[in-house]
């Protein structure tokens, strides 16, 4: 009886009696939600264009952040480092297309997936070789990202908003919206969707697969850099960051692997869900549920909607 009370009644009483605290929890859920959405978007872009689950996306986040910090450590100004890091991600996209993807056209998806695993190990090795394995701190202030916090008095209580979190949410939202618009409204976006639907037909109307792939990997690289900066600023820049990228998996299962809005809403659901569950129900299980709760949500979704919220329906004609 006590247990049922603790599950079904007391968390809600807590929410109602302490609305300021609830607001704080929701805010934090929102911030991590937008960041999850950003990571998931990197996966969705590449999955749409080439049908490949890019295992290397997580390590690209680390690699991008390391490059940025590395350039700065070499004595360059922060903004120059940022531009150079972008250029490196562009070069990486070009290289991946040239060296890996181009030779694997028309191979089964599994082969391409294996290639991205190979790529991720290459990037780990290459990154460690150049930047070393020890954690570094993100150049948050040098990039002009705000620090400090604002306290809002509300509901006879307070909600604390970290300025960095506000900036992270805003940048993530702008990037997500920008990419979504770009890929739905422009010729290149149309070409990307065309490639996603049918490679051969896309080729027949003169869409260059090579160009589209390079563009998409570059977009994923930009997303990786943004993600790397934001997550790097919250903890530090190390190879452990790629674990965060794995959180994109449940987000993708929720949102569908091919849907940009799905990635956004999936990210938010996971963000809100895990924060709320951690704070209000986590205690029943001894805490620390944040790490795995997302995967439980994903599993439940797999049972009822294997194609995700917005994914394309899997219909097989027989």
């Amino acid at each position: 009886m006590d247990l049922l009370f603790n599950i079904f009644v007391s968390p809600f009483i807590e929410m109602v009696t302490m609305p300021d605290f609830l607001l704080q929890v929701l805010w934090e859920g929102f911030v991590s939600g937008t960041l999850y959405a950003l990571i998931a978007l990197g996966f969705v872009l590449i999955f749409k264009a080439s049908g490949v689950f890019n295992f290397a996306q997580g390590i690209m986040v680390v690699f991008a952040a390391l490059t940025l910090v590395g350039f700065h450590a070499a004595g360059l100004p922060a903004y120059v480092s940022l531009v150079l890091a972008l250029a490196v991600m562009g070069f990486l996209a070009w290289g991946v297309e040239r060296v890996v993807l181009r030779h694997l056209v028309n191979q089964p998806d599994l082969i391409l997936f294996m290639a991205t695993i190979g790529l991720s190990y290459f990037l780990i090795g290459f990154g460690e070789l150049i930047f070393g394995g020890e954690p570094k701190s993100m150049i948050t202030e040098q990039l002009g990202l705000p620090t400090g916090s604002t306290t809002i008095e509300i509901f006879d209580g307070i909600v604390i908003l970290q300025h960095l979190d506000i900036a992270a949410a805003a940048i993530a939202a702008i990037l997500v919206a920008g990419l979504a618009l770009f890929f739905s409204k422009t010729r290149i976006g149309r070409a990307l969707r065309a490639v996603a639907d049918d490679h051969q037909a896309a080729l027949s109307v003169g869409i260059s697969l090579n160009q589209i792939w390079a563009i998409v990997w570059f977009a994923a690289g930009i997303v990786a850099l943004a993600t790397g900066i934001m997550w790097g600023a919250r903890s530090d820049v190390s190879f452990a960051l790629q674990i965060v990228a794995l959180k994109a998996l449940p987000v993708l299962i929720l949102g569908g692997f091919t849907s940009v809005p799905g990635a956004i809403i999936g990210g938010l659901i996971i963000g809100f869900g895990e924060k709320l569950f951690e704070v209000y129900w986590g205690g029943l299980l001894g805490g620390g549920v944040e790490g795995w709760f997302a995967y439980v949500i994903a599993l439940i979704f797999l049972l009822f909607r294997p194609q995700g919220l917005f994914g394309e329906k899997i219909i097989e004609r027989v």
């Binding site: 149309r190 969707r193 065309a194 027949s204 109307v205």
Partner: protein, 266 residues
Amino acid sequence: MSARTAADIAVGEDLLHVDDISLSFGGVKAIQNISFNIVKGEIRAIIGPNGAGKTSMLNVINGFYHPQEGTITFLGEERRKMRPYRAASQGISRTFQNVALFTGMSTLDNIMAGRSLKMHRNFFWQMFRYGPALNEEIEHRRAVEEIIDFLEIEHIRKTPVGQLPYGLQKRVELGRALAAEPSLLLLDEPMAGMNLEEKEDMSRFVIDVNQQFGTTIALIEHDMGVVMDLADRIVVMDYGKKIADGMPKDVQSDQNVIDAYLGVAH
């Protein structure tokens, strides 16, 4: 040798010719020593029983398949093989046997995608969908609307093509191929799986495209009645070999062709 454009070639001259093309997949010989030409302004049909290598032939022409032997000459430029991007940018469009549309996109977007090569504004304008890129979008939109008018598919402009019935999908696919304003249009069984009325509509469109726009057409078709009416000249293939080539009435009475279609005691 500098590449010519389709406009430099007079009606009745060779637009494309293939010489001694052989294509095999492992031990399977899909095409053996095939040569024929397509002259500007004609409707050229390629017919033959199932598995004769007709679609492979089309794939060779637009560069999906690379033949082991032979050459392809398009616009006076002789090549060992085509590449799909090159073929498209030089004016070869095609449709597919099993409709290959971008199913998630609307009719309008599908046909707009067909104009990819006509749109040149660079990536950065595109990124902001501003200035020249926006004007360009509008200008091409107009051309696409004309094609939509021509094919009488106004009512499905915004419908995702995945939801359309098969006959209409085939029509949208033709629209996408036309959007590139091709000099050579390859149609792989444009009437397969259609009912009589749909076939008549499609035949009318094929003829109109040929006569109004002067587009040269090479088509594969199974329906003999349709082919005999549509085509100016016919290549007949069987087991990867060319067994006849000529006017419909000559081909029709050719003993080899009759044998191939009806079977013959060996």
